[in-house]
Amino acid sequence: MNANKEIWVLLEADDKKISRQSLALLEEGERLASECNGQLQAVFLGPAIEGIGREAGSRGAGTLHQYVDEGLRQYDPLFYEQVLLDLLKERQPFLLLALSSSLGADLLPRLSFKLGAPLVTNCAEIEVLENGELHFIKPVQKGRLFSTVQCKGEGMRMVTFLPERLSSCEASRTNEAEAELSEMKRLAADTVQPVRVTGFLKADHRTMDITEAEIIVAIGRGLGSKENLRAIESFADQIGGAIGGTRPMVDEGILPYERQIGQTGKRVAPRLIFLFGISGATEFVQGIAAAGTSVAINIDSQSPILKSVDLGIVGDLNVLTPRIVQHISTVMKRA
C-alpha cells in the first residue's frame, strides 16, 4: 500500500469563486482522508481567487497547489494536462478526485493514460475497506444498476465524481485552518499545441434548443392563460432554464412547437426539470424519461406526478411562481 496517502482534489472555479460542487468534493475528500489516515490536498488552476486558502483549509486541505494565471479563464485541455502531469509525477498522490464535469471528465482520462493510473469515472460513492483498499461505486445502465470497481496495482488512483451525488454540510463547518499555498511550476511560453481553444459561445437559455438544455421549466394545462407565462419566464430567467411544455400549451399557442416535450414533440434530458401544472400523462412523461432531478408544482394533491418526482409541491403555480421568483431574487441579492 502506498505509504504516502495523499488525497488530492481538483477544484474548479465558478464565477470567481470555488464552485459549490468542488467544495462538496473537498468534503468528500476530507472524509476519505480521515477514513484512510491520509492527507488532503487541493489543486487549482485559474485566475486568482480571494480566500481560496481558507476555503480549502477549512475543509481539511493542508496544501493547495495552485497555478494562478489571469489568462486562464477557460479550460484548456493540453495546458492543464501538462501542468498537472509534472506535478503528479513528482508528488505521486494516492488518489486524485475531480468532478465529472466538462473539465474533470476531459482532463482525468488524459492524465490517467499518461500516468498509467487507473481511473474510475462517474463515481457515486467511495467505500474504504478495512484493508485500506478503495471500492468505487458508480451507476451504470442509466442508473438502473451500480457497479463496484476496484483498481489494480499500488499506484495512483483517479476518480471523477458525479456532482449530483455530492452533498455539502456547510452548516457544521467550524474549522478555520488555512491551506498552505504551493505554486506549481510555470509552463514554458507558448508552444504550438495540436489542440487550441479559439473561443467561447455563451448559451442563451431563451433561444437554446430544449434538447440541449440542462435546466428546463416545463409548463402544462395548470398554467391557465397566456398572461401567466410572464411569471414563469422570470423564474426561467432567474435559474437560466429553457421553457418547454406539454402539447396543450402548444395547441393553445402559448408556446411554439419547438418547445413541445413528449410523444409528439421532443425528448429532453435536462439535469434539472421543473414541471409546473403538468399532471404527467404517459404521452408527456415519455419525453422526460432521461431527465435528472425533478420538481413539480400541482394544484391537485392527488396528482400522480407529485408522487413520482423528487420534490412535489402542492399549490397553485400562478400563486407560487411569483413568490418563488421573489424569494430567489432575495437569496441572490444576499449572496
Binding site: K17, R20, F146, K152, P163, F200, P304, D310
Partner: protein, 295 residues
Amino acid sequence: MKIGVLTKTVGFVNAQTGTDSGTNYICPEDIIRMLNPLDEVALEYALEIKDRSVGVKVVAVSLGDRSAEEGLRRALAMGVDEAIHIRCEELGQLDAMATSALLARACEREGFDLILCGDTSIDDNDGLEGPYLAGRLAIPHISRAVKVSVGGNRQLLEVERVVERGDRQLMQCSLPALLTVQKGSTVPRYPTLAGFLHAESSHVRVLNPADLEFARNVTLFSLNTTRIAARSNPKPKKQRGVAERSRLSAAERIDLMVSRDATKGKEGGTIIDGLSEEMFTRLDDILEEAGILKR
C-alpha cells in the same frame, strides 16, 4: 479522407423484471441489444461530413462478441462504407485500457484521419475508450463535441465542445484526431430501406485479437487497470444535507411515472405544501445543488 467511428453494441438493462437477486433481478428480456445512442450520434456526425464533401470514407469499428455485429449492421444501414468487427468474446473482463490497445492496433492499420465515438456508453458509463485510444495513437482528442467541421485543406478540425449549461467552447485541432461526441440537438438519420437491405447483405470484416498481434488474451488482461468487483441495485444517495430526497433511482422514478401500476408500492419523493416555509428550504437546496443558487 478516412473517418473511423467506434460503434458499440450495448446490452442495455432496460428493466428488472426477474425474481432472482443473484442476477440483480435481470431476466434475459430485460436486456436490450442496441447501438449505443451516442455512437449513433457519432455516426451521424461522420456521415454529415461525408455528405458535405467528396472522397470521404466512413468505417465503423466495433469491438465485442457476436452481438457487436448488430450495431455494425445498423451503421451500414445508416450509410457507412465499411464495417470492421474485432471479435473478442471476453470483453466483459477487459477494461478501457485493454480494449483501447486492441482498437489502437486496428485503427493504426486503417490509417484513419479522424476517429469519432460517443462520449460514454449507456451500459458501462465509463467514457474512457476514446481518450485512451487517442493517447495510444498519440493524436489530439477533444471531448463533448457537438459540432464538427473539417477545414484548412483537410488539415484542421473545428469543433464546438459543449460545457456546462449548454455553453460552448470553440476548439481547433490538427488531423488526425479523435473526437468523443455529445448529442447536442442532433437526430441521427433513420436508414432508408435500401440502407437496411444493403446492411443485411454487406460483408462485415472480422478481425481476431490474433490478427492484431495479441496472441493471447492474457496479454490483454495484463493491461487492465480496473476490475468490476460487483454489480448491485442502486443505493439511495447518502443523506447529509438538510433536505430529504427521493429514495428512487432515476430509472425507478421513470418507471413510476410511466407505469404507475407496475411499480405500485414504491415511494416517490417528498410532497409538501406550497405555502409552507419548508418549500423554500427544499427548493433552495435543489437549486443550490444544481449550481444555480449560491449562498
